[in-house]
């Protein structure tokens, strides 16, 4: 039409750079998250506050206060980095002497260990989001998947070649059953999936307690809420052998397979095309002959199945048993997955990076707490601020004066509460 005839002037390099990719907005959001975190450290650390109160007590009051501030903030973020990725000094030491590799690699191993199930469950949530569905019940689905997988892994006995796949499949099946219920209810009765999935989390927790307290699944001879332990043949073994001392397991390959599957599903398959059309425009999907009911049910089966897989991977690669506190509270990766999927814009590779970032913040936060006494909650604050700024690109744009970051380049992850 007539609008497009006027050729816009060539934008500057900076504008093209910043408007070219939503990754840039994410990076700025990360920076902002760290800035907000620093402000919180400054305003809550007694040593820093004392130094600022004392700025008139001597000629060097202000430089001293600044020094204390940078030291504290620096120490916090340094411990977060060294605790989640690598300590450069330790790395150099290992490289020169060839010793201490376990200690050097533990942080990154822990980050990957935590990220592995998070990637899997977040991809499940992301696929649901792409279909226009909110799966708020991924945590419950992961719990059920963890239970069913651990039941197979601990109460059946067979060689690894059968046992491990069956254990993982049991986890997928458990999550699928748990995800199918809200899917079928939404498709055939119109029940809102947010309510149903949310409530199903509580069903899952109650079922978990029942299983670990009142059934043969409970560890024999135990009164506590703890399950039997998986046979070694059902476990995801450490990647570098159990003598390495590194927990990162063959679960990363499971996650990699899931990423590859999700990429094919969303970008190459006819089914994924139906998902995306349904998610982007349900009316057009209907007019194009897409069966909304089957799309909803299948999307929920996949989403729930992946959540269940995440649950069993978590058990099979770390604890090998589950207890009554499995995936409750801060460990509820099914809830973290919602923000991770949002941060990764529901794209498989985006989710991988987002999950690694969140895992690093969580693992590093624990190290920071141990090293500096700054509570782990700071990591949660930083995570939240990042998500907040990613979800509000306009704000980031204003703060950094990023002209030309079109709102289209940062698509809303979901279509809202409407169904």
């Amino acid at each position: 039409m007539s609008e497009v005839t006027a050729a816009p002037p060539r934008p500057s390099l900076w504008v093209r750079y910043t408007s070219s990719s939503p990754i840039v907005v994410t990076v700025f959001a990360l920076v902002l998250g760290l800035v907000v975190g620093a402000l919180i450290i400054i305003t809550t650390t007694p040593a820093v506050l004392d130094a600022w109160r004392a700025i008139f007590h001597g000629w060097d009051g202000v430089p001293h206060a600044l020094n204390v501030t940078f030291n504290n903030v620096g120490a916090a973020y340094r411990s977060m980095f060294t605790g989640s990725i690598v300590d450069p000094q330790g790395f150099w030491h290992s490289l020169v002497t060839g010793k201490g590799w376990t200690n050097t690699l533990t942080p990154i191993s822990e980050t990957f260990t935590y990220a592995t199930p998070l990637v899997i469950v977040s991809i499940g949530v992301g696929i649901a989001f792409q279909t226009g569905l909110f799966n708020i019940g991924a945590n419950g689905q992961a719990v059920i998947g963890g239970i069913s997988g651990t039941v197979v892994g601990s109460m059946l006995h067979m060689p690894t070649i059968l046992h491990l796949p069956l254990t993982l499949l049991a986890g997928i099946a458990g999550g699928m059953i748990c995800g199918a219920v809200p899917g079928v209810l939404k498709a055939y009765t119109g029940a809102h999936e947010v309510i149903v999935t949310l409530m199903f989390n509580y069903v899952a927790y109650a079922f978990l307690l029942f299983m670990v307290l009142s059934t043969p699944f409970q560890q024999p001879g135990q009164q506590n809420d703890i399950s039997r332990t998986m046979d070694p043949s059902a476990q995801l073994a450490p990647l570098f052998g159990s003598s390495s001392g590194l927990r990162v397991s063959f679960g990363v390959f499971v996650a990699a397979l899931v990423v590859a599957f999700a990429w094919w599903l969303l970008n190459r398959s006819s089914l994924g095309f139906d998902f995306r059309v349904t998610g982007a425009n349900p009316s057009a999907a209907r007019a194009s002959g897409i069966n909304a009911r089957s799309v909803i049910v299948v999307a929920f089966l996949i989403s729930g199945g992946l959540a269940g897989l995440a649950g069993v991977v978590q058990v099979a690669s770390t604890t090998h048993y589950i207890d009554g506190g499995f995936l409750i509270g801060n460990a509820g990766i099914g809830f973290t997955a919602i923000t991770v999927a949002l941060l990764g814009r529901n794209k498989p590779m985006g989710i991988v990076w987002a999950a690694l970032l969140f895992a690093a913040l969580g693992v590093g936060g624990r190290n920071m707490q141990a090293a500096t006494g700054i509570p782990l909650d700071l990591a949660t604050v930083i995570q939240s601020v990042i998500v907040l700024f990613v979800a509000t690109p306009v704000l980031v744009k204003e703060i950094f004066r990023l002209r030309g970051v079109s709102t289209a380049s940062v698509q809303l992850a979901t279509t809202g509460w409407g169904s």
Binding site: R268, S270, A280, N281, A284, S288, G289
Partner: protein, 504 residues
Amino acid sequence: MQLELRGITKRFGSFTANDQISLKVEPGQIHSLLGENGAGKSTLMNVLFGLLRPDEGEILIDGVVAPIADSGEAVRRGIGMVHQHFMLVPVFSVTENVVLGFEPTKSFDRVDYRRATEDIERLSQQFHLDVDPDAIVENLPVGLQQRVEILKALSHDAELLILDEPTAVLTPQEIDSLMAIMRSLAAAGKSILFITHKLKEVKAVADVITVIRQGHVVGTAEPSASESELASMMVGRNVQLTVEKSPFNPGAEVLEVRDLVVLGDRGLVAVDGVSIDVRAGEVMALAGVQGNGQTEFVEALVGMRPVLSGTITLHGRDITNLTPRQALDAGLGHIPEDRQRDGLVLSMSVADNLVLNTPRRAPFARHGTRDLAAVNDNAVRLVHDFDIRTTSIQGPASSLSGGNQQKVIVARELSRPLEFLIASQPTRGLDVGSIEYVHRQIIEHRNHGNGSLIVSSELDEVLALGDRIAVMYEGKISGVVDPSVSRESIGLLMTGHTSETASV
């Protein structure tokens, strides 16, 4: 009131919507602003009404520079606007709507309805508006609702009325009476700015015509100018206003609808026993004012709305109550009424949209995996064959203009093997050039011996395309006529007169 715009320029980023636009409206004059969609008419009116601030240029009222900061100031200066989409509260009475925001009060801040009602009756009589002040707005036909908008402007002592595409929603009869009202307003000294892209109306009512294209004034014309002159000024090239059709040579019956009953969204009967036949090589045009059951009728045909009773057969095969998928597979092509809601996924690429309803069909997919090379080849071919103007087939459909979005749908439907084409409002909101194009495609499809059903509330379109014209009124077919009958008699059918009374 004399209104003058001098060098108005309005830019949105790098795009100039209005470029040095100057025009002058004299008192008692009906000044037509003619231009295609996207030419910058609405931007100009929003500038004039204070909703947008111009980057350059000034507005003069009676020879004095009069900056307009907001719509309140526009109203105080005597400018009234009748929007394309009415700004009325449906459950309020006419009087309540007219005084809304400017309520005359008596003691203790009570609204003085009696005075307001008297004012409305006086204005209504003076300009032959014929509106009952106590009627509830939602019970009024669209034409009368529009008069309420006009009344609202007049009650604020408007001396200049801006009418933004006022005829888009009206029946031919309502258009005639609107024009009579416009003339009586002008006779009483009011100035009128009449925005439209419809050539017939401009010629019928305007004193002066200013044509704008791509944000520029391309010239002024007298109402005596021919339609094709005006069209070529508006589009910038010669336009063929009539579609050339090969002789009508109907074949066997293709689509047969018998006693179809369909419910509307609110559970009321929307389609009430409609029977219709369409033959091969025939375009059946379904005319009617919008909201008389056409939408529901088409939705029932393509499987998007359940049929309560009656039958639909295609080539003798019963296709009643199929799913949309089955209807597509049976060979029904569908150009939906609301292209952005039902026809496209705006956030997805042009290439994906071109296979939106055939993604699983060979060659676009094999064993559940899409063949993106085939999808792209298809897109390249259709973009070329159907002249879709796009910078990239991977770009989102939202980046296309309305006309090109419609071409995507037309290309998608006409490029697959069809038994029958159903097109709803196929040229709504399109510019003259795109209308010409879509019409040619539909007629070409017909000339190949295919049957089609075209639903339109535009009488011009119905007359241009239809080999026969069925008129729908309140869910029933009020008559099936030949396109050679007069516009008036079709207009009468559209308002519910049956064919016996209309065929005079």
